[in-house]
Symmetry: C2
Subunit: 274 residues, 2 copies
């Protein structure tokens, strides 16, 4: 999905909500556990319920890989199901990959290739290994790299804020340097909602790039703050909520409650989009 | 496998060679392509041929994920096969994962848990997200985290050499800081053979940690240089070669030639171990 279509989708749905399908099998509602593939059953119900309010879906691959081959099969079925909503949502493989060039090519093929099992629109990538680890993800037309810049976790403080001799922090250097590798039409950045005080600075360096913003909800980030400093004329944000939506209720009403939670966020977002 | 057993294994085999099972399906010899699972067929033959000379095997997950579910199935069969050689080799998932704490727990479960589909001895991890992204990989007994420090690719220059205000480079900071998260008995570092001039400095900061060293062979690193500056009294090195061994020959003799290449490296290593 290219930038024009993504922006149009956000305007049409009045939403830049990304629903994180972090479908930990140990946390699913009882009522899905007897089905043949509980994770897929759960995802399907969550997708159906939240589709009116969501612009994007983001399975974090860890929760699928943790179940081995069965888990990857649940992921494939989820992605096949999402193909029924092709112009209705953007899909992100939260994979945080990155390796030497010939190896990154293989990861790109695995998750972004239209001929592969998954065919995601975008994929998260770790920047530590630099340019040749990132570029192979930029070659598929209308597909996106989403580079980790400033993450939402406590460990972000360990290296991402390290200042170089000119006072440039590592996450700022990542934001700057990577713009030589790809442009705003196929490069986004992960910037955590828990880092809202940094969004002004992030927008100085990357005024037009889309930002994928995790950390609203369970991790404590504020949507209002993120929007105040992060929104652009093209929206420029995809704000993710995972546990706060998909695990808001563990009863048989889980999908209805997930829809309510997604709708609350969507309505708040519609206000900011005006 | 704990440190004592790994060291004993290296002494017994007179080898610290790690064979990289980067079994790209598009590069396999013709003669395996008619079998039901060419990648597993190839891996099995390579393992059988090189086992006398190798201390470790390291499948890079990208080459398996690129084939989707079928690829992961080839990986599982490969790991099941390697269980026949339990005390004969150390196994490394070259995965370069890392995510927020609750997510890293899932990746650890996927690749290190003895109850999982794979049950690797060790796993490579990217440090960008800091402590809480790394620690969940340290909880399985006798299993190892292998943290990226100084990689073998050109892109290593983009961020890993960035100096902070005290003149400490990012890779040095990673080497230092991570030693607060785990000790030399379950933490190794990736340090590329193409960076041999840095090994003296690496050994100043991490005098006893095992280093996983890619980049000998196709990438141009020198084994002699790496050993000169990197060897410790417990060896402290696992030196990887992938393409230089597994794709040295594309005829029906591929496994025999792979064994020759592995043996040449092992014999050179035996010399350095004296």
């Amino acid at each position: 999905m290219n930038r024009a279509k993504l922006t149009e989708l956000i305007r049409r749905k009045k939403s830049f909500l990304c629903v994180g399908l972090d479908s930990d099998i140990t946390k699913l509602p009882e009522c899905v556990m007897n089905s043949e593939d509980p994770v897929f059953e759960f995802n399907k119900a969550i997708i159906d319920a939240t589709m009116p309010y969501a612009a994007a879906y983001k399975p974090n691959l860890a929760f699928y890989e943790a179940n081995g081959l069965k888990g990857l099969n649940s992921l494939k079925k989820t992605m096949d199901y999402l193909k029924n909503f092709k112009d209705e949502c953007f899909t992100i493989a939260d994979a945080k990959r990155g390796d030497i060039g010939n190896t990154s090519e293989q990861y790109a093929k695995a998750f972004l290739s239209p001929e592969g099992d998954f065919d995601f629109d975008a994929m998260t990538i770790a920047p530590y290994m630099g340019e040749d680890s990132v570029k192979p993800f930029t070659v598929y037309p209308d597909k996106w790299v989403i580079l980790l810049a400033l993450t939402s976790n406590k460990g972000a403080n360990d290296f991402q804020f390290t200042e170089d001799k000119e006072g440039l922090r590592l996450f700022e250097k990542v934001l700057k340097q990577s713009q030589q590798w790809a442009g705003k039409d196929n490069l986004m950045f992960v910037c955590g909602a828990t880092q809202a005080s940094m969004f002004t600075r992030i927008r100085e360096i990357a005024p037009e790039h889309f930002l994928l913003v995790p950390g609203v909800g369970a991790q404590g980030g504020s949507l209002a703050e993120v929007c105040k400093y992060g929104l652009t004329k093209d929206c420029g944000l995809l704000v993710n909520s995972s546990r706060g939506i998909i695990f808001a209720d563990k009863s048989e009403n889980y999908a209805t409650v997930a829809a309510q939670k997604a709708r609350e966020l969507q309505e708040e977002m519609a206000g900011y989009l005006k």
